[in-house]
Amino acid sequence: MAKKKKEGSFWIWVTASIIFRLILIYFPSNLNLSSRPEVSTPLTSLRRLAEGYWLKQSSVSPYAGSMYHGSPLLLAVLGPLTIKSIEGQPNNLLYSLVFVIADFINALLIRAIGQKLQITYSRSLKSLDLDTVSKSSAFMLVAAALPSRDIAALIYLWNPFTIVACVGLSTSPIENLAILLSIYGACSRIVPLAAFGWVMATHLSLYPVILIVPVILLLGYGTDTPPRKLLLQRRGGKLEDNPSNDSDFHQGQAMKEPELAIVFSWRPVNLFLLWIIIWSLYVLVLCGIYVKQYGGLNEMFKSTYGFILTMQDLSPNIGVLWYFFAEVFDFFRNFFLIVFHLNIIFMIFPLAIRLNHRPCFLAFVYITISSMLKSYPSVGDSALSLGLLGLFVNELAEMQFSFFIFCVYVGVSLLSPVMHNLWIWRGTGNANFYYATAMAYACLQIILVVESVSAMLNHDRKLRKLSSAKLQNVKS
């Protein structure tokens, strides 16, 4: 009964968030969110997409000039919507609806991922005989109100960043959709979907390319579990424990259950790689057809991936790189471009080694890192990472500085528009003011990543301690 009630309240909140978005859509001209630097970067701005579509319509390459840098597929899907409008409705209604729907699907996907996570989590705790312990401990209190999956979905839907990104007409909800599709596909072992999501996400914004590591881990090992060593120990302990009494059946069961998680299964991974090839060929062929008469794929790569990697646009955004590259000496430019992009790549393997038993969390960490270090970050990216953060409320309950992080989030998101206004519109401020807020935002995300990783590792440590204590108890 209580569960049903919870369910109901969840759906009420979801509908409320969608209605809220629709209300906001109806007066966008007053809000003018679509031209905010926090919302629309050169990559995600719908205005630029409309310009690209207009150029395409007047038989010029959509990539002519430095206006549009997105995917040709987005252009084909969203482009016609930018010029169509229903009588008597605001012009932006059609494509705004697409973004609202994308947001809704995103929330559902997060919820589905959360469900999978929760199932494996409780199962693995059971297999460690820790379910009673964990239930009684403090950190399950959070989950008492709502399951973590609903919390995550609601955080995603009600996060002001998500709402702003959705109403502000940036294409980041669609990019997030592709990323979530990939993770969901991997969690629920739908290999073609995972491959499709990954290919699309990479095609749309390049940075999700690093998600191939967590996706492969997800496919190979299954969703997040406590460290595998523990399970092995546990199994060993169990085997040691009762070698004689009704051996065959019990053993078989004990073997069967954790086996799934422990052995890396190559078959889905190989399938995944195969599907990646198929999907990327498919996407490339589609793009190739679309841009055939305008310089072909080469041109497309140059003005999408090339634009991302070389940071040509120096207009302000919430990241720190724009100001850095506006100020850095020209002969160091290439060096720093390489350094900053390597910063993302360098951290892939240490994280993957340390967190290989928790691929979903690994994906969250990767997404947060890339949303911090990418060349044109926007609030849409951090909306996704914050939404995913909600999935791990149980594990991260003991995270340090969480209140501090929350306060700084609020502070930065209030101060940043003010500083931008002072600098750009009133001319009384200075670029440094705005840069300082961007700096604070970057530090904030760094603290978030570091603390969440640390909290997750601590959680694992705690599990190990508990389980070893239990083992000892059992033995003695």
Binding site: G65, V339, A431
Partner: protein, 669 residues
């Protein structure tokens, strides 16, 4: 056999004679062909100013007939033509803005000689398509050396563009560039004068007194070059160089006691009061050397009216007034010729007085003066629509460019009979170049006619856009608009985002703002030409030929000043260090969290605590053992392990050193 030598001699003689003859003909024709003419056109303007327009025209025969040498034609220019294979080129230096409302917008001078502020250069090359850009770059450098101006800034691909049909009809080998902020000064005029055979020592050019020229309201120095050398067709006129200087001067009338009657009177002027100099005869090298005084249609109409009134009121005065036009004013010099416009839309043709400078000398110098006797108020003929361009929006993030048109009286006059027609259209061409840091959203183009929003496709007949590319090329927009004839006003708007530049790309005075060059608005259905009645036997003077050329009415809009946001120029180091610190913080702290193992740390701490007590004696023991050589006290296992470690260490050091050497070898070379 005797015949053969004779025949040979004969042939030789014949060849000699022929070649001599040919040479003399060629030489003679060369002298004849190379010609130079100087002219000055004066025109009173309605706002108490005077337009003076100097025009010098030099012509060189085709290169083949004349070798490399020239008598009159400047060699620098002909070399320029040869080197860059120029078909046509125009360079103008302008200060001030031509006031289209007051000074006219429908006559040949305003549509050909009113230029945008700063430097404007366009050139048509006769080279293969892929060489055009390199030719242009070299040309800008050559010209900047020739004219002591920073025309070489036009070399960068962000400043010039390749208009297709919006600027001039046809030609894909045209390049067009402007520098709106270039300051124009005497240092640009001196090299320009050097191209004239008499410089400013004699002839009309002697009037160019620098202070009085640069004191004017508008100053435009232009050099136009056409060459038919590389044309395939036989009509070959060689190189024609046309140098014009258009200045609008305030007449320095005596500001003595002015009665109320006199204030209404237009100020009287003479060459001395305007330029402070007189013309002491012609430049002897010039083929023709004339001064013209033009009265435009509006003025003639006013004068005619005055005369009619006078005739009615005092018919007796007719005898006193020698000529009709002399009624309202008096000329100090009697004109040699009076030319009248042949065909005009109104009843009042424009009048041109011609003065030949040739007969004047040092002793009797030419000083044309005009004294007004009656107050006259008139207005110049205006372009069909008067265009202006302005910026909309505030702040440094985005804005909009708007071009607005207002119909002038003329268009109402001209188009009056057509208004009845339903599909009467007024064609307007717009050519606009926008620098790359103004990121124009062309899909936001909006057209307003009579303050009502119209569908773009109804008005815009043809549009060509080449969007700007960051740091590579400017945005070019060429448009053909067709407005309904009866409209009162029209406007187009385009939204843009302001770009953000690297600190090195800002000019020294970054906070002043950036200039968007003038847009060119032309009305292809209207031709600014004046046909004068004259006997065909006479040589047409270049200025009259220019007047009769059928060119469309053109006008330039204002230059726009766009303020761009500036970063903090003073702190690149701070930004670099702070950003790198943040990155280091991220990398370091994350790595620290990842490699921390709590259990091991605890163990390590414990062992350390255990060790701490006996550390010093142990160290001493080790030391003494070392001194004694291989000691027996140290356990075997640890020594082997330590030696093993050290060998590993050495291996590592060698590996790193080898890598470093390889790196040095491959990448340093």
């Amino acid at each position: 056999m005797a015949v053969l030598p004779f025949r040979r001699v004969f042939v030789f003689f014949f060849i000699l004679c022929f070649s001599l003859f040919y040479a003399s003909v060629a030489l003679g024709s060369g002298i004849d062909d190379e010609e130079f003419s100087e002219e000055l056109l004066l025109r009173p303007l309605p706002d108490r100013k005077v337009l003076s327009h100097f025009q010098f025209r030099s012509r060189a025969p085709p290169n083949s007939s004349n070798g490399r040498h020239h008598h009159l034609f400047p060699k620098a220019i002909s070399q320029l033509v040869q080197k860059f294979r120029l078909k046509e080129m125009e360079l103008s230096f302008t200060q001030g803005r031509w006031n289209y409302d007051l000074w006219g917008g429908f006559d040949p001078i305003s549509s050909n000689n009113a230029k945008p502020p700063g430097v404007e250069l366009w050139a048509v090359f006769d080279v293969p398509q892929h060489h055009v850009d390199s030719s242009w770059k070299n040309l800008t450098h050559a010209l900047s050396g020739l004219f002591c101006a920073s025309i070489n800034f036009l070399e960068s691909s962000t400043t010039y563009s390749a208009p297709d049909w919006g600027f001039r009809p046809a030609s894909g080998r045209l390049r067009y560039g402007t520098l709106p902020r270039e300051a124009v000064c005497t240092e640009n005029l001196t090299p320009w004068l050097k191209l004239l055979p008499c410089r400013d020592k004699a002839g009309v050019a002697a009037l160019m007194d620098r202070p009085s020229i640069y004191k004017g309201f508008y100053h435009s120095q232009r050099l136009h070059l056409t060459s038919t050398e590389f044309d395939s067709d036989d009509v070959d006129s060689g190189i024609v160089l046309e140098q014009t200087l258009t200045v609008v001067l305030q007449t320095n009338g005596k500001k003595a006691v002015l009665t109320s009657q006199e204030t209404k009177l237009q100020p009287s002027w003479s060459l001395t009061t305007m330029f402070g100099r007189k013309i002491n005869g012609r430049c002897v090298l010039a083929k023709s050397s004339n001064v013209y005084l033009q009265l435009d249609r509006g003025l003639v109409a006013v004068l005619n009216n005055l005369q009619k009134e006078n005739e009615i009121s005092a018919p007796g005065n007719l005898a006193y007034e020698a000529s009709r036009s002399n009624h309202g004013f008096e000329l100090s010099v009697k004109p040699d010729r009076v030319l009248e416009e042949a065909e005009s839309q109104g009843k009042n043709p424009s009048v041109l007085y011609e003065f030949a400078v040739g007969k004047y000398s040092n002793s009797e110098s030419f000083d044309l003066g005009l004294t007004w006797k009656l107050p006259v108020v008139w207005s110049c003929q205006q372009a069909p629509l008067s265009a202006s361009r302005f910026l909309m929006g505030s702040g440094n993030e985005r804005g909009a460019i708007a071009i607005s048109w207002k119909s002038s009286q003329l268009s109402q006059q001209l188009l009056h009979p057509d208004v009845i027609e339903e599909n009467c259209k007024l064609q307007v061409n717009v050519f606009q170049v926008v620098p790359w840091y103004i990121k124009v959203y062309y899909h936001t183009l909006q057209v307003f006619v009579d303050e009502r929003l119209e569908a773009v496709s109804d008005i815009v007949e043809k549009i060509r856009v080449s969007p700007s590319e960051d740091k590579v090329s400017p945005g070019v927009m060429e448009m053909i608009l067709k407005f309904p004839c009866g409209m009162k006003s029209a406007a187009i708007t385009l939204e843009f985002d302001k770009g953000f530049l690297h600190i090195d790309e800002y000019p020294p005075d970054a906070n002043q703002g950036f200039d968007i060059p003038s847009a060119l608005i032309s009305y292809p259905n209207f031709h600014a030409s004046i046909q004068f009645v004259e006997d065909k036997s006479l040589d047409k003077s270049p200025i009259l030929a220019k007047f009769q050329e059928k060119s469309s009415v053109r006008s330039y809009t204002e230059v726009l000043l766009v303020p761009l946001t500036t970063p903090d120029f003073s702190m690149p180091y701070n930004v670099i260090t702070i950003t790198c610190t943040v990155f280091a913080l991220y990398f370091g702290s994350l790595l620290n969290v990842l490699r921390r193992r709590v259990g091991e740390e605890e163990r390590l701490l414990k062992s350390k605590a255990a060790k701490k007590t006996g550390q010093l004696p142990q160290l001493l023991l080790k030391l003494s053992a070392k001194l004694r050589g291989r000691s027996l006290e140290t356990p075997q296992s640890s020594s082997t392990s330590s030696s093993f470690v050290s060998s590993k260490l050495i291996l590592k050091v060698i590996l790193v050193a080898g890598l470093a050497v390889a790196w040095q070898f491959y990448f340093a070379s």
